[in-house]
């Protein structure tokens, strides 16, 4: 009895379900698309605005402050000042933000190396390289600093009598310099082609 009732009503209603499906598809197709996404990646067409200028000015001031500390031999405060550049808020997607931060990491790593904090310096460089979204002269510069840190490590290992590890560090330094040179060459070639 139940199966007869099911067959009588549900089998013929199959086409009705199909109609509803097609109509809903049509409605989805004709639904108005949002004019603009709520979030979006910054485009090259974005103009320079106040937010970018403020962020750049703040970074500039932290650099100048660090220079004053460095001239006084206060490397710890100089390091802290440069570190503050990394936490500045730039407009989302601004290419200048990557460049300024990478350059700040390069200086920060050199300051840490000069204070004997080689591992911290290496960590700073590696974090910066991990966050890169494109190749640039600033990325190449960070590889150069990474090579310098490997050299500093090699010097420490030499002093400790660990010759084998020191050789490995020197090889790593050469690899980092090579990477830097390759990026520079590639970018210079691109610039020349544009001109």
């Amino acid at each position: 009895m139940k199966s007869r009732w099911f067959a009588r009503w549900f089998v013929p209603l199959g086409p009705l379900a199909m109609v509803l499906g097609i109509v809903s598809m049509g409605c989805n197709e004709s639904a108005p698309q949002p004019q603009e996404a709520v979030t979006r990646v910054a485009e090259p067409g974005d103009v320079i605005d106040e937010d970018l200028m403020v962020a750049l000015a703040q970074a500039k001031n932290f650099h100048h402050k660090a220079k004053v500390y460095m001239s006084d031999g206060n490397l710890a405060d100089a390091t802290a000042s440069v570190r503050q550049i990394l936490s500045l808020r730039f407009p989302a997607g601004a290419p200048e933000a990557d460049d300024v931060r990478l350059d700040a990491r390069a200086l920060l790593a050199k300051l840490l190396v000069s204070q004997g904090q080689v591992e911290e310096a290496m960590r700073t460089v590696q974090e910066g390289l991990a966050q890169t979204t494109r190749e640039s002269f600033f990325v190449a510069n960070l590889y150069t600093v990474q090579g310098e840190i490997h050299e500093a490590r090699a010097a420490q290992l030499d002093g400790a009598g660990q010759k084998t590890q020191a050789i490995d560090e020197r090889r790593a330094a050469i690899a980092a310099y090579d990477r830097s040179i390759k990026i520079n060459e590639k970018l210079q070639k691109q610039l020349m082609e544009r001109r």
Binding site: R8, W9, G26, G45, H63, D103, F137
Partner: protein, 209 residues
Amino acid sequence: MATDDDILTSPVPEPDAEPTAAERAHAKTFADLVDKTLSGRTPAAMSADDRALLEVATVIRVTSGGLPLSPGKQRSIVEDVLASALGGAARGPSGSLPGVTPITAARGRARRVAPWAIAGISTLVAAAAVALLWLRAPTPATPVAHPPSAPTAWLSRPADPMIGPISRERAGDASARLDYIFADRLDGYRARRLTGSAGTAGKPRGGKR
């Protein structure tokens, strides 16, 4: 023994007067008659007085409500109304009008036909919808109006071309490079702000300004 005529013609007793045996017997007989009538077993023969009383009792019961008509009676009444509406044609042998389909028969047929009628209509609509989707020509994309391109100097962009390769000796000279970048971007920002078309060219970041 009192007869029906005696009851109807005798004087009306006092309200508090005790009923006589004859009155009790007559009341019991009439009660039985009413019960049989309500259960559909009306006696074929009865006295004229009993019939009159029975009709009164039936009317009283109907007017007091609670007397549902049997389904057959309901159908019969509706069909009679329909027949009178159609001109009072003669009934057929089944009791229904020749041109009028009995309600029960029509309902049963509708119950059988309804799912398939829905299915047929749905299929037709589905076919029409599929055909519409198939035949609908893709509308050409509306060209998006781009704002006039802004000068490069006004745009946020990588600083690579301006800085160039960084030598190892200058690896830590980030401050001087930033001064250079800042000065360049400030020039572009001022040019954009001081030019009258600042609001039309380029695209302010995040829709601001």
